[in-house]
Amino acid sequence: MKVPFRQFRYESVESLKMALFQIKANKTRSFLTALGVIIGIVSITMMGTAINGIDLGFEKSLSMLGYDVIYVQKTSWSTMGQWWRYRNRPDLKTLYAEQINRIITDNPRSELLLAVPQISTYQASARYHDRILEQVFALGTNGDYPATASGTLATGRFFTPGESAGDEMVGVIGDDVASGLFPNEPAVGKSIQIRNHRIRIIGTYRKQGKFLGLFSFDNQIIMPVGAFQKIYGKEMFITIRVKIRYQQRVEEAKEELLGIMRKIRRLPPGKEVDFSINEQKAFKSQLDPIKNGIAIAGIFITGMSLFVGAIGIMNITFVSVKERTREIGLRKALGARRQTILLQFLIESVMICLIGGFVGLLTSIIITFAIEKVIPDFPVRFSPDLVFASLGVSVITGIISGLAPAISASRLEPADSLRYE
């Protein structure tokens, strides 16, 4: 048992050396052959980085919503686009937040921690002297808001519960609003004008980025509910933000909140709910199929280029077998077995593919790096998985494309091939 293994080892080393010899001896041909694999691997890994990037951007966006916050709203996030189903539901009230808080403080085993009201509009416009920002997201809440939201303050402070209870006209703004209205001066202490009211800026947020590339957390003006209602009235979109105790127990928390809301809404058992409890997972379940669709289509298309590359390698290996018929005959005369010849040609094609894979991988790492430098927001991300996957794919491509020529080489008759001209 030991000698055959040693023999196999020596033969493999010999084949490896011969493969390197061959590749070095035919540089142009080897490069052109490997090009198919290089292009294939570049396209596959670029696709991979894009999918990774989307995933990453997505995770980042979801973490902005908070994994430990659930939202009571009139509509559901998981059936977005079916607004008619929710049209006839009664509006929520900011008051619910207090009612929920009262119930959960009475229950020491509650899964819920804190409810915060939110009333908002996308249509706000803010003015400071001659500078005007349109389509600002104005939001009314209370002093507990920071506990349920991501983001940290860059300057100033958030308003206190006292200020919010007193309906004071103060506000905290996002980074885009701050830089848009106050490009060259500190925002804190200035007053901006919204409709006919003035809001005094007491704090600014650090830049946070966009949610799924759609909604910007930097484009907000946050003020007490009372102040908001003075400007826009009470008929605006209301959300109750509820912070939960344990991230892992979202389902239990939702269940409890559902019961509390039914109680507040006085819904008899069996009656359909007229509100929705949303969490960030809803987005995931909506966007995952899209992401997977992109991934499957992308991998299929990029796989085609690799397939073309594999055919190229098969072709070249067939040519190489033909050219080296005498060498194959000689090796067989000297004692090479079928499997030895098979292995030699397989190793050669795998080698070309692996080299192509390495070059392709390097190319896509450079491209990814360049994209990250030039367009930081573009969703690309390289991962170690991709390295292993693409090298694995290269090896498999090498085996698949080298197998048929290698088998035909191993089956050559030694006597005939020695005489082959």
Binding site: L334, R338, P414, A415, L418
Partner: protein, 229 residues
Amino acid sequence: MQEPPVIIMKELCKFYEMGDQVVRALDSINLDFRKNDYAAIMGPSGSGKSTLMNIIGCLDTPTSGIYELNGQNVAEMNDDELALARNREIGFVFQTFNLLPRLNCLRNVELPLIYAGVPPEERNERAAEALRKVGLGDRMTHKPSELSGGQIQRVAIARALINKPSIILADEPTGNLDTATSHDIMNIFGTLSEVGNTIILITHEEDIARYTKRIIRLRDGKIESDSRK
């Protein structure tokens, strides 16, 4: 007591089908080779020399009859067993030398040992020793393209010797060499024969055959004569 023959052939036939005709390349050959034989197989082209050499060299199997190489029946061997037999029992020397042009002399000579599973250091040592035996101790790292025809054939002989085969099988070993170089090569075979190697060579040149101790003449696939000196 005499040792049993290295090669025994009994009623050995090799037929080829060419369309609807059957070509009898070898027809009922009965032939023995003993250890230390130094024989030439002769005959005009088409007489079956090459076919006989292919069968002796385990490159091909007979259609019928017995071919025993060191007591093993070659006719019943599969491809891998034939490869093993070629590796262990046969040392080939070809008319066209058949060295691998990319490898230097040492690496060319050690090739059979790779297929025999011999460790690298030992391979190197034995290849160097074999090259010294054929007088090429100072050409080990040269490539075939840097050597003369006679030197290349000596490298090939070193390669044939390296695995200590039962027989050295040379197919027109001087066919591509001038007279003086042919003489050198035949002298090497002569020396090898004297130290106990079994050598069979195939040739159509009487001058070359004269160096050997036994001449077998083939015609139309049959043995015409078999004479020892």
